[in-house]
Subunit: 351 residues, 2 copies
Amino acid sequence: MPQKVRIALDAMGGDVGASVVIPGAAISLSRHPDSEYLLFGNQAQIEPELAKHPALKAVSKVIHTDVAVGNDDKPSQALRRTRRASSMWLAIDAVKHGEADVAVSAGNTGALMAMGRLNLRTLPGIDRPALAAVWPTLRGDSVVLDLGATIGGDAHHLVALAVMGSAMASVLFNIERPTVGLLNIGEEEIKGHEEIREAAEMLRALPDINYIGFVEGDGIGKGRADVIVSEGFSGNIALKTAEGTARQMFELLREAIGSSWISRIGYLLARGAFRKLRDKLDPNKSNGGLLLGLKGVVVKSHGGVNMEGFAYAVDVGYEMAHYDLLTKINQMLNRDGGALKSAQTAQEAVS
Amino acid sequence: MPQKVRIALDAMGGDVGASVVIPGAAISLSRHPDSEYLLFGNQAQIEPELAKHPALKAVSKVIHTDVAVGNDDKPSQALRRTRRASSMWLAIDAVKHGEADVAVSAGNTGALMAMGRLNLRTLPGIDRPALAAVWPTLRGDSVVLDLGATIGGDAHHLVALAVMGSAMASVLFNIERPTVGLLNIGEEEIKGHEEIREAAEMLRALPDINYIGFVEGDGIGKGRADVIVSEGFSGNIALKTAEGTARQMFELLREAIGSSWISRIGYLLARGAFRKLRDKLDPNKSNGGLLLGLKGVVVKSHGGVNMEGFAYAVDVGYEMAHYDLLTKINQMLNRDGGALKSAQTAQEAVS
């Protein structure tokens, strides 16, 4: 790739806006010197931050807007109020018009999805976008999707998720044929909703997909597959429950350690180990959800991350653009398009 | 309650059978001297274990059968092969015929549910049974259901789960009006499946239910409500994902600690704290899932527990029988029966 990777940033998104987005971008730039930036947002907030990072300033262009999507705006409100004007919309718009290769925002997920869908449209063969993220496991990282972009869905939808997740894992982890599992409540073939069993049949028939079977909730953390596929409701429940459990364990550990002097001394000695654990499970380190299924790459950062965390989201965007995720997804969709289309027809025929 | 609590035990269930079930019962008996036991299973395996526990032997009656449900039997197989003969069936049958107040088995969940449903039948107003368990949270314990007994379900089903879970929490935690939340992918009223929103409306109208709103996956571990209600698919995904995350964290902690001598010394000093944490999250300590919705109380113990773990499952059975869970559920179903019945009719009318 001779050209630079052009990254559009929503500088107003997230809990703190430019004061995290700009230094985060500077960190990512130091890791990927072949990138350049379009920064959308309030110039008065962006410029002072940018002044602290001359290397970033040298490869950035600021596009001023004082309209921002609120963290609590409903998607419909955000669209009505800030369409064609907000930093979030403009960043996505830059991708649409080929001025950027990827957009990154730490803003409100619902608004980002609604704007992405409306402005970029979905890929041929894809009805509804999905939210995918990297999940740290005992065996390395896995891609898990859909984390809540759309609720429910038929077998065709699950197969489309598998194809897109597989392309993402292949680009991100640099594996030829990542393993793919369907999230289910048992590993036996008889278990689960009808559409999951049907999707399993279809996936087994797709040459591009390395389908390994059903995976239960505890199989995600075990790293049973490189890609875990679920409709968005259960995927979101799994993600949030895992986050809650991890937080709960840190809390209990802190409590247990604080309960005696001797444990506190032990903790001081072992604190390097604790830091390692915390780092491994730090949401900042696996930050960067991907909106999949759109005619453009959009990365969703957590709203509450620090600059290191935002830098990881920018890294994810860089990787996806640099290794051309979209072309990869399109190729797979085209190759496997027959299966997807026939499934869709079959679904429509019975509904 | 002047009478003793009569507990029917499937002595052949679980990974190890009588060698865990009998000592487990002995431990529970020491905590609840007003209980007596019917022990179903192979006499040749039960008697030697029983000989080691004279106090238990004194209040137990052994009923011999050499038929046992296999751990990997499918429910249909188990029914066909061992109905009316297996230790599991006979323990449930004792409840049906009023010879025992509760049955406890560490055997195969699917078979236990199928036998429970076929032999005990469901309560009036309940279509399908549910599996409920105690979930350790940062705020104490919560009841979570359904953990996978039935997949999907309409608003009426969710309301029935809320009523039964509420009765269970009230008996188990000794609270008058336990708080009840519906598991969902957002806390706002607009989120989630249609049936969850409809269930929320219905629950708000029920005087017996202390409904507090939607709870996200991470709200379970935070202890956001005393009772968390979900249909069985998402409930099972949440449970297994939490178990997987906890195991993953222990694994990573062990790894991190083993990585340097100084951390190992620190660990030795802080090991009391670690033990406390492990105890708090030990599945043996929150063992005892309840099959709810049947005309009788059936407790499902994990198959892989030790004797302490099985004792906890027997404790749960004792509590449920002693405080008469079934009457409590029936009272609530009767009081709230109007709402349940009208919802059911509405559902049938449109389907």
